[in-house]
């Protein structure tokens, strides 16, 4: 449903994206992951025909985004990065305006309006002036307009930014529920978010796609070890590191701050119970024990250093 080949964009002399190839199949939910300035928004703006590419081509729902942009735009629901809506309009008034631009009839508009207001948690404030809404509610209106015309393709640029924790969960569930019927491409900085909602993630850094796989494979591939962090109040014993290393499955122990150690274990093994018991027996005063989540930064560090190693 979405495909690009050799997509490149220059802003003046600055190359924002370089030779991006990507394919999203019908009904697929794909996460588009990357740090700040990676080129996520730029790619999405090209896909939605807001800006043209400097080179390469892209198709959405079988229509070229440059030469047949009216058709491709018709099949996309787009949530821009900053949903800048008309502040002087009321919520339903704005949604009706969008429906008008998308050629929706009156009956269809009314029906979809009820649905999107409900699903985006806006049913209590349909007549609020958009400018007076909080950031999270404006984001909901942005989401509502993206879903309004029931488009086969959804392009969502950081859809959960600005939402409260409950709403984040609702939006993620909503996106997951779209699987199969809709093709969704969503961008995010948050690795766990991509893991939770997407069947496949595409990682972009410095304008280039550096990895593409299911979240599970990707983390397995990158992650040579699982890491847990423990904090001890009473580690008089100088040999904490060595003694922990003696435990089976523990691969490495690194000090990480006063009384804190990072314990690396083989992939797939969970040594938390074992470590906890060991520490308690020793009387080291266990203050904290938690798994260390792999952050997006770790992923990038690993992916980029791996690449450099190859070259």
């Amino acid at each position: 449903m979405i495909s690009c080949e050799g997509l490149t964009k220059f802003y003046g002399n600055h190359q924002a994206i370089a030779d991006v190839d990507l394919h999203v199949g019908e009904g697929e939910i794909v996460g588009f992951l990357g740090p700040n300035a990676a080129g996520k928004t730029t790619t999405m703006r090209i896909l939605t025909s807001y800006i043209p590419p400097s080179a390469g081509r892209a198709e959405v729902a079988g229509h070229d985004v440059v030469t047949e942009s009216l058709d491709s735009r018709r099949s996309i629901g787009y949530l821009p990065e900053t949903s800048t809506l008309y502040r002087d309009m009321r919520v339903t008034q704005y949604l009706r305006f969008c429906a008008g631009l998308r050629g929706m009839g009156r009956a269809e508009t009314n029906e979809r309006l009820d649905y999107v207001l409900d699903i985006c948690g806006l049913q209590e404030r349909p007549d609020d002036i958009i400018g007076t809404l909080s950031l999270g509610f404006r984001q909901r209106v942005g989401l509502a307009q993206a879903l309004l015309h029931d488009p086969p393709v959804l392009i969502l640029d950081e859809p959960t930014v600005g939402l409260d924790p409950n709403q984040i969960i609702e939006v993620r569930d909503l996106i997951k529920s779209l699987a199969g019927d809709y093709t969704v491409m969503l961008s995010t900085h948050i690795l766990p978010e991509a893991q939770m909602t997407c069947e496949r993630v595409i990682i972009i850094n410095h304008g280039r796609i550096i990895a593409e796989d299911t979240p599970q494979n990707l983390t397995a591939q990158i992650r040579q070890a699982e890491t847990i962090s423990i904090t001890l109040s009473d580690a008089r014993d100088d040999n904490v590191e060595r003694r922990l290393l003696d435990l089976s499955d523990v691969v490495a122990v690194r000090p990480a701050g006063p009384g804190t150690y990072h314990v690396d274990t083989a992939v797939g093994s969970d040594v938390r119970a074992q470590v906890a018991q060991f520490v308690v027996e020793r009387g080291w005063g266990l203050l904290e024990l938690r798994p260390v989540e792999m952050t997006l930064e770790d992923v990038f560090r690993q992916l980029t250093t791996e690449e450099e190693g190859v070259e």
Binding site: Y11, R45, T48, S49, Y50, I51, P52, L70, D71, R73, R74, I76, Y78, P80, T82, S83, T84, L85, Y86, D88, M89, F97, C98, G100, L101, R102, G103, G142, Q145
Partner: protein, 237 residues
């Protein structure tokens, strides 16, 4: 066409949501009312609106950049352009929609001024044909003004800059007639043809001639065309 009307309706509504429409109406009708009162109370007042139409067209020039400055500039400044332009609408439809929205407000203002000839007909015998010609002139001039104002708004994301550019272009086209006298015969003739004031003269005197009609219509068309191209080019940056 539906997209054009959707956008026009939205723009027209937003003029009336903000104080803009009321300020414009009050200002326009206030000044025109003052000039009308002075002209009818003159010792040898006639039921003649020629002077009135000159006022109307000049005040139209003054209000134009205020009406049009936000139309495209604001969309670019706030970023709402992105959501607008990723809808299945043509760039030309967006420009035409915005233009019709502004023209809608201007026509409402003109309808408000109908009180003056109506009042005049109570006390005298105005020449309705001349009045019709005058109104056609004001409307045509207003069409060109709004197109130029919209063009200015397409060039920059700053509303203030859009207003200033609008005034500079409009006042230049207005004053070029006076410059013409100073420049002497040859240049003067050419300059007079592109002067708003010169082209409006006939209408104010109740004459409908094809040359000024063509002048205002081509000015309108040209300005709208450039505005569409500016928006198209903005995407390619």
């Amino acid at each position: 066409m539906r997209n054009v009307l959707t956008i026009a309706g939205k723009e027209l509504r937003s003029y009336f949501v903000s104080p803009m429409a009321y300020v414009i109406l009050a200002f326009y009708l206030g000044i025109c009312g003052l000039v009308f009162a002075l002209s009818v109370s003159a010792p040898q007042a006639e039921a003649d609106m020629a002077g009135m139409f000159h006022t109307m067209v000049f005040i139209a020039l003054i209000i134009t950049p205020v009406i049009t400055m936000g139309l495209l500039s604001q969309e670019q400044a706030t970023g709402s352009m992105e959501l607008l332009m990723t809808n299945p609408v043509r760039d030309a439809e967006v420009v035409m929609g915005k233009y019709l929205g502004a023209m809608g407000l201007f026509v409402i203002v003109l309808i408000g001024t109908l009180e003056f000839p109506i009042m005049m007909s109570r006390y005298g015998e105005p020449d309705w044909n001349a009045i019709l010609a005058g109104y056609i002139g004001v409307l045509l001039a207003g069409m060109a003004f709004m197109a130029i104002g919209l063009l200015a708004s397409s060039i920059t994301a700053s509303q203030i800059a859009a207003a200033v550019i609008g005034y500079v272009i409009l006042l230049f086209l207005w004053l070029i007639g006076w410059l013409a006298y100073a420049a002497g015969e040859q240049v003067g003739n050419v300059a007079q043809h592109v002067s708003i004031l010169e082209n409006f003269q006939d209408f104010a005197m109740g004459i409908i001639d094809s040359r000024p009609i063509i002048f205002f219509l081509s000015l309108t068309f040209f300005a709208l065309f450039v505005a569409v191209r500016t928006i198209e080019n903005r995407r390619t940056i």
